[in-house]
């Protein structure tokens, strides 16, 4: 069975090389990705929004995203919004610690003990936002994360994985004369095919509901989406038929 990409929260860190706060965003993001919420988070390198492909630019539309910035230039938040989609939440390290940290953070290359403490503060704050986003925003649409409080789910430590190069699978279809890019559609088709769903009205409704999990579908266009999805799915099945 092909698994659709799990609902996760995207973390985009500025990783600014010139300031200790930039290093703090990087290490805090990695702590969340590797230790605090490894099952619920994914990351992407910020420059891939420009240097990558359409799948990379779909990142913040596909995942509710938290931007971690070191300073008030807010490169991560602003660039994510410019090239992908508005982040669901944002943390600026200088704001976060404005009234808490008085000592030097160290250098960008080597953080001081205070700098490392700030990594802890930032990562805890980020993990709390991850839980909040998973609970609030996505549970109504999929019901996936409401079964258990994310903070209580056991989390195995893993090495952080990035979405670099892999991109989010996209398929373009024409609906009422307009070309529309639908996120995850290739995987949705694969999943339906492997579940032996034949092209019929029930399948059309199922396709539409699944597509809506990952994409914005205007209510008034639902019928057009459903019929187009069904036609595209029938073609997809026909293409796959000889090799099944």
């Amino acid at each position: 069975m092909v698994d659709l990409p799990k609902k996760k929260v995207g973390i985009v860190a500025c990783s600014g090389e010139e300031l200790p706060e930039g290093t703090i965003t990087r290490l805090a993001a990695l702590k969340v990705l590797e230790q605090l919420r490894p099952a619920d988070t994914v990351t992407i390198c910020l420059p891939l929004f420009l240097a990558g492909g359409e799948g990379d630019r779909a990142f913040a539309r596909f995942y509710p995203t938290i931007a971690l910035d070191g300073c008030d230039k807010r490169c991560a938040a602003r660039a994510t919004e410019m090239y992908s989609s508005k982040p669901a939440a944002s943390i600026v390290v200088t704001d976060l610690i404005a009234e808490k940290v008085l000592d030097s953070l160290g250098s960008a290359r080597r953080l001081s003990a205070t700098g490392l403490q700030t990594v802890e503060i930032t990562s805890e704050q980020t993990a709390a936002l991850v839980d909040e986003l998973l609970g609030k925003r996505w549970s109504r649409r999929t019901g996936t994360f409401t079964e258990t409080d994310p903070a209580l789910r056991p989390q195995e430590t893993v090495e952080a994985t990035c979405a670099c190069g892999s991109g989010i699978p996209i398929r373009k279809i024409v609906i009422d004369g307009q070309v529309v890019s639908l996120i995850a559609l290739p995987l949705i088709f694969e999943q339906f095919l492997e579940a032996n769903k034949t092209p019929c009205d029930d399948t059309a409704r199922g396709l539409l509901e699944t597509v809506k999990i990952y994409n914005s579908v205007p209510t008034e266009d639902e019928q057009a989406y459903a019929s187009t999805l069904l036609r595209e799915y029938a073609e997809f099945c026909a293409e796959k038929e000889p090799v099944r």
Partner: protein, 161 residues
């Protein structure tokens, strides 16, 4: 090189990709710090890639008239692409994997914190970057010296005229 000449030279801009999802990304970052803080602090300048992504004016300005050396952790070459996108002059683009092929005795691991092999690979990479910087500085130095000599000659010629 004289101090006066050094004042006239543009610093070489170093841009690592700092990729967050792979060990090689951290190697690029550490190598860039090695060059700009330890090996060639007077001749180089670190520019944050995130600022270039955002289109920050001061970051873009630092690329004007300055040669840039990029260090990328994967084949997507984000640092190189972004510097080029910003109109910068990439005189040398390093790919960590290529460098690793020359130093296979170092086995880099870790992202948040590199292992010993990772730091050694970063040092080896930094040495290669520093060698490129030296070549660029020599070229600039020669150009500046030639210009100064020509300028002096013109002045002297004028006084006899």
């Amino acid at each position: 090189m004289t101090e006066n000449n050094q004042d006239n030279l543009q610093k070489v801009v170093i841009v690592p990709c700092s990729g967050i999802g792979k060990t090689y990304g951290t190697v690029t970052r550490e190598a860039a710090y090695n060059v700009t803080e330890d090996l060639r602090p007077e001749q180089t300048q670190l520019v944050a890639l995130s600022l270039l992504v955002l289109g920050d004016e001061s970051a873009r300005a630092s690329l004007v008239d300055s040669p840039a050396v990029t260090i990328d952790g994967c084949k997507l070459a984000c640092a190189t692409k972004m510097v080029q996108e910003c109109g910068g002059n990439v005189v040398k683009d390093f790919a960590v994997l290529d460098v690793y092929r020359r130093y296979k005795q170092f086995k880099p691991q870790g992202i948040a914190e590199l292992n010993a092999g990772g730091y050694k690979l970063a040092e080896a990479l930094a040495e290669e970057v520093a060698a490129v910087v030296d070549g660029l500085v020599d070229e600039q130095d020669t150009l500046v010296r030639d210009l100064l000599i020509r300028s002096d000659s013109s002045s002297e010629g004028g006084s006899y005229g």
